[in-house]
Amino acid sequence: MNVLFFGIARDIVGASELTISDLIKNPTVNDLKEYLIAKYSDFSKLTSFAVAVNSEYAKDNVPLERNDEIAIIPPVSGG
């Protein structure tokens, strides 16, 4: 499963895109968040972070499909 990283999330994992293969089967948005926090403890220091699926904000219970475009969205600060 490919995951895109932006802003400080990219700095935390050290890459703008990761292929994650050790997630549980049929993962949800929440599973991916917990995986990231467990693997990279700096995610727990952020104000918050969201997950986008196919370029839309996705709630925690949304299932992630193999061909989805998945992105990690740290706190936005445009404007």
Partner: protein, 139 residues
């Protein structure tokens, strides 16, 4: 039919925003421009750098524009955000709304910028003399 002008750009052109918002049925046009200021919390910002998740940012900007059109019956909307390195006094965002009367365009313009700042996936890094900080990342 309302006109939506939604863009992610390298450089904001402030000179043609009126042409984008002008409309025969509009008596009021309100525009907000956000720019780089010299001082943040008493420390000197040398520059700002903006990055975006472009496909998603454009989608969110369209949603925000359509919400505003529906709520305030707008004739035209502009939402443009710049990416890349920006220096002091450079514009980084321009939003605008065009409506029959002036209260609607003021309220809509405020909504556009407030909601953009809440929802659109754009990230700002402040470069000080000795450090770099992703704005709002930490509590």
């Amino acid at each position: 039919m309302e006109k939506l002008n939604i863009e992610i750009v390298d450089t904001i052109d402030t000179s043609n925003v009126y042409a984008k918002l002008s409309h025969a049925h509009s008596g009021g046009i309100c525009v907000f421009i956000g720019a780089v200021r010299e001082f943040t919390a008493n420390e000197e910002v040398v520059a700002l750098e903006f990055e975006t998740y472009k496909a998603m940012a454009l989608k969110e900007m369209h949603k925000i524009a359509e919400e505003a059109v529906k709520k305030w019956n707008l004739n035209s909307v502009v939402i443009e955000h710049a990416v890349g390195a920006k220096k002091i006094e450079e514009p980084v965002v321009i939003v605008g709304a065009s409506s029959a009367h002036r209260p609607e365009c003021f309220d809509a313009c405020r909504y556009l910028i407030d909601t953009l700042k809440e929802r659109v996936p754009i990230w700002k890094k402040e470069m000080f003399k000795n450090k770099e900080v992703w704005v709002s990342a930490h509590p």
